[in-house]
Symmetry: C2
Subunit: 495 residues, 2 copies
C-alpha cells in the first residue's frame, strides 16, 4: 500500500515554481465551474502520518483556491449532543452541499484506526467499521459526491527526522507536542492498521491517494494535480446517472395475496373500550418516557399510511402522553434549499433525537420508496438503493440505543373515499384534502405494491414495521399506543 510512497520522491523548487501558477489558475477555474454548476460536492479527506504535511495541505488548498467556497471540518472531542447520537452524526452535520468543497481534517477513519492502534478495539470490530464506511461512502458516491482520500506518508526514519527538525527550529518548536512523539512510537502499528483500512476502502468510487510527504514541492504538486484531474473529469462529463444497481423486481404474487390484503380492516373498538385503553396506555408511555433506563435510550417513531388514514390523529394521541420538552414532531414536507443540496437522508439525520427524547416523524425517509417511486420523482437507481441505505441508517440508530417503531396505517379504498368526501364537506378539514390526494388515489395498486416491497425489504429485527388496521380510528390509535408501550417495555427489559 505504501511502497511507492517510500521512494524519497522530490522535485526541484524551480520546477515547482514554474508549475504552480498554471495549476492554481486551473484549480480556481474548476472550483468556479463546480460552484456555478452546483451538480455535486467535492469531499477531500486528509489522513496520514504526523509531520507528513496534513495541516500544510489544508492551508495550501485554502490558499490555492477561493476559501469562501471551501468548508474545513475538523473534529475535536465529541460534544454531548454528538455523543448522544450515532457516531456518524457529527460527519453528516459537516457534509458540504453540492457546488462546494469540503475538506475533512479528521473523519470517519480517525476513530476506527486509532482505536485499533491503541488496542481499544479488536480486529473484527475494525473490519465491521470498515464495512460500514464502505457502505457510507458508496451512498455518498451514489448521491453524486466526488470523494478523494489522501494519505500522507513518511517512512519511520523520515518521520523522526522531520519531528526533530521541527523541534529544533525555534519558530516551529511549538508545533511538536507529546502527542506527535506518542504517535511516532506507534508508527509500526499505525502503518499496519492503516494499510489494512486503506486496502479495504479504496474503491473506484472513493479512491485513496497515498502521497509521500517529505518533499513539500512534490507533495503539493501531487495533491493539486490529483484534485484537478478528478474535478475536471467529473465536471466535463455529461451529468449521467450511474447504471442502476437494479434489484430484480418482486413479481406480484400469483395468488394475488399480499400483506395488506391479509389485514382485517373490520377490527373495531367501542368508545368506552377506547377511552379506557387510551388512558391506560398513555399513562404507561408517560411513565416509560420517565424511566431511568430510558435516559440511555431514545425513541424514533415513524408514521406512514394511506392518505387520510389518520396519521395526524394517532400522532397527537401519542404526543399527549409525552412531556413537551422531551419530544418533537417532524412533519416531512418539501425539502429546503439547504436540504436539496445534500444527500437524501441528510434532512432526517438533522432531526435525530438526543438520549432520553422522542421524535415523531409524520411521514419520513420512506417517501423515497413510496411517493417518489410511484410518481417517478426518484429514478429507479435512486429508490432501489434507498432500501439498503435506510436499513443502514436505522441500524445506526439502533446501535446508539434508539428504539425505532414504524407504523403503516392502512385503510380500504372505500373508507378512503368516504373520508375524502367528509373532509370536503367540513370547512375546517378542507385543508387536509388536495387535488393531489385524488390523483394519488388513482394509483392505489401501484402504492400497494410499493408498500409491500417496502415492508418486505425494510422490516428488520431492530426496526420492524407494524401494520395498523385503521378503518376504525379508535382501533388504530390503541394499536399504535399499545405497540409503542410494548416496544419500549421490551427494549427497557421491563417485560
Amino acid at each position: 500500500m505504501f511502497e511507492s510512497a517510500e521512494l524519497g520522491h522530490a522535485i526541484s523548487p524551480a520546477t515547482y515554481a514554474r508549475a504552480v501558477p498554471k495549476l492554481r489558475e486551473a484549480l480556481l477555474d474548476a472550483q468556479y465551474d463546480l460552484f456555478q454548476d452546483g451538480r455535486f460536492p467535492v469531499m477531500i479527506l486528509i489522513a496520514g502520518i504526523d509531520g507528513a504535511g496534513k495541516g500544510e495541505t489544508v492551508n495550501l488548498l485554502n490558499e490555492w483556491m477561493d476559501p469562501r467556497h471551501i468548508n474545513v471540518a475538523a473534529f475535536g472531542e465529541s460534544s454531548d449532543e454528538e455523543r448522544e447520537r450515532p457516531p456518524m452524526w457529527r460527519y453528516w452535520r459537516e457534509l458540504p452541499p453540492r457546488g462546494r468543497i469540503g475538506i475533512f481534517f479528521g473523519h470517519w477513519y480517525t476513530d476506527p484506526i486509532l482505536d485499533r492502534v491503541h488496542r481499544k478495539s479488536r480486529q473484527p470490530e475494525l473490519i465491521q467499521s470498515i464495512e460500514e464506511i464502505v457502505r457510507f461512502e458508496k451512498m455518498l458516491a451514489d448521491e453524486g459526491a466526488l470523494l478523494l482520500k489522501f494519505w500522507f506518508h513518511l517512512t519511520k526514519d523520515k518521520q523522526k527526522k522531520r519531528l526533530k527538525a521541527l523541534e529544533k527550529d525555534p519558530q516551529t518548536r511549538w508545533r511538536v507536542t507529546k502527542t506527535e512523539w506518542r504517535h511516532f512510537r506507534l508508527y509500526d502499528r499505525i502503518r499496519k492498521v492503516a494499510g489494512l483500512a486503506l486496502r479495504h476502502t479504496g474503491s473506484a468510487a472513493a479512491p485513496w491517494f497515498v502521497v509521500e510527504g517529505q518533499d513539500a514541492c512534490y507533495r503539493n504538486l501531487t495533491v493539486g494535480r490529483t484534485l484537478l484531474a478528478a474535478m475536471r473529469e467529473r465536471l466535463d462529463q455529461k451529468p449521467a446517472k450511474p447504471a442502476a444497481d437494479r434489484i430484480p423486481p418482486i413479481p406480484p404474487p400469483i395468488d394475488n395475496r399480499h400483506i395488506l390484503g391479509a389485514l382485517d380492516l373490520g377490527l373495531k373498538l367501542t368508545r368506552r373500550q377506547y377511552t379506557e385503553q387510551r388512558a391506560l396506555y398513555q399513562g404507561r408511555i408517560y411513565k416509560l418516557s420517565r424511566h431511568p433506563r430510558f435516559r440511555e435510550r431514545s425513541a424514533v417513531l415513524v408514521f406512514e399510511g394511506n392518505d387520510a388514514a389518520g396519521k395526524g390523529g394517532a400522532i397527537r394521541r401519542v404526543a399527549a402522553a409525552l412531556d413537551a420538552r422531551y419530544y418533537r414532531t417532524i412533519p416531512v414536507a418539501a425539502p429546503t434549499e439547504e436540504e436539496r443540496a445534500q444527500p437524501y437522508l441528510w434532512r432526517f439525520w438533522r432531526h435525530l433525537p438526543r438520549l432520553g427524547r422522542f421524535v415523531l416523524f409524520d411521514r419520513s425517509w420512506y417517501g423515497r420508496v413510496l411517493v417518489e417511486r410511484v410518481e417517478g420523482f426518484a429514478g429507479e437507481f435512486d429508490w432501489t438503493r434507498a432500501y439498503s441505505e435506510i436499513n443502514d441508517f436505522e441500524q445506526q440508530l439502533a446501535d446508539k440505543g434508539a428504539i425505532v417503531v414504524k407504523f403503516w396505517l392502512a385503510i380500504s379504498k372505500d373508507e378512503q373515499y368516504r373520508r375524502f368526501r367528509e373532509r370536503q364537506k367540513t370547512a375546517f378539514k378542507r385543508f387536509k384534502i388536495t387535488p393531489e390526494d385524488w390523483r394519488n388515489r388513482k394509483k392505489w395498486e401501484a402504492y400497494e405494491q410499493a408498500v409491500c416491497d417496502m415492508v418486505d425489504r425494510t422490516s428488520t429485527a431492530v426496526a420492524p414495521w407494524t401494520l395498523v388496521e385503521a378503518n376504525d380510528k379508535r382501533y388504530a390509535r390503541i394499536k399504535v399506543l399499545k405497540t409503542i408501550c410494548e416496544r419500549l417495555e421490551s427494549a427497557l427489559r421491563l417485560q
Copy 2:
C-alpha cells in the same frame, strides 16, 4: 395584571360548540395566507400557572391548525453545546422562519422568572434580564415577527382544586407530579415575580394576553380569537415598514479629519522583522489557545476591511497558529434560503463557537452597516437599528466569556488601485477581483463615512475595534497577530 383573569370566566359548551367550526376555518385560512405570503413568522409564547391549560393549548393549536406548518419548541435541560454559548442561543436555534408559526412552550421568560422565584437571583438581575428581553423582542418585532405572549392564569384556590381533580381521576393522575405541587406552594411568589415581568415586557410590539384557565371553553375560544385577530390584522395590512427609529445623521466633521484619515499608512516592516515576529506571535497564540483558562472562554474574531486590504492573508496567518480542530473560518457570503427566512443576525448566531474554540469571520454582521447601507440593500430603518442590535449581540457573547476582537484593515485608495491592477494581471488572483469591486471603489467616500460611523457606534469596552494600517501587508499581519495575543492575554489575566 391578573385581576381580570380571576373573575371565574366561563362560557357554555353549547356556545362553544357553535363558535368553534367557524373559528377553526378562519384560523386555517389565516395560516394558509401566512404560509403563501411568507412575509413574517408568528411566535406564540405559552406561559402561566401549572394546571391552567398550557399543554392543552399547545395541543389545541396543533389540532385546530395544520400542524405541518407549526414548530413546537419546548426546552428541557440545556445540552453542553447550549451551555457553552450565550443563554439566548437555544432560542435562536428554534426561531420559526417567515410563513410559519412557532409555539414556544418554555422560552426566554422561564429561567429569569423561576430563578427569581427560587431566590437564585436577586431583583436587579431580574430587571436586567427583563431589559435584555425587551431589546430582544423589539428586534424580533422590527424584523417583522408577530409575537403573541399568553399567560394562563388561575387563582390559588382554583389551582389547588384543579390539581386535586387531576389527581383523583385515574386517567389523568399521572399528569400531576411533585413538581406541580412544589410550584403550587410557590404560588404567591410566582404571581408576584411574573406580574413584575409581565408589566415590564408588555409592549405594543409584543403584548401579553392574560387568559383565565379554569374553563376550557372560555380559554380555548379566547386564545383562538386573539390569535386570529392578530394574524388577520397583520395579513391584511399593507406590507409597510414601521417608521425609522432615525438616528440623527452624524455630520461629516467640519475640519474634514476622521479616524481613517488619521492612520499612518506608511507603517512598514522588513521581511526579517516580519518573519521573526510572526513566529513569535503565532507561538504565543498557539499556547494561549491551549491555556487551561481558555477552556472557559472562546474567541470571536471579525475581519472587515476595504476590498483588497488583505483580510484573507491575515486570516490565514492567524489560522496557521491554531489547531484545526478548535477553530473555524466562516466566510460570509449571500444568505441561504433558510437564512433569508430569519432575522438578520440568525446566520451568525448559528456559527458561534463553543468554549475553548475560535471562530474567524471573513466579513461579518457588519455588512449591514457597510455594504448594505451604502448600496441601499438595507433600508434606513434596518441599518440604523443594527448598531444597537449588534452591540446587544456582542454583549451577550462577552457575557458568556467570548473574547471579541474586531479588525478594520485600511488601505489607501491608491494602494487599492495598485492591488486591483496586480490581481488582474495574475491569472490565479483574478478571481479576487470582480466588476463589483470597481463599482464599490467609486463610492469610496460613502464607505469611509460608513466605517467611521460603525467604529464610533460599535467600538465598546467588551468589543473594541482595532484599525489596522494595511498598505504594508507585513505590518498589517503582525498588528493583527499582536492584537489577538494581547487581547487574549489580558482576558485570561496573563499580563
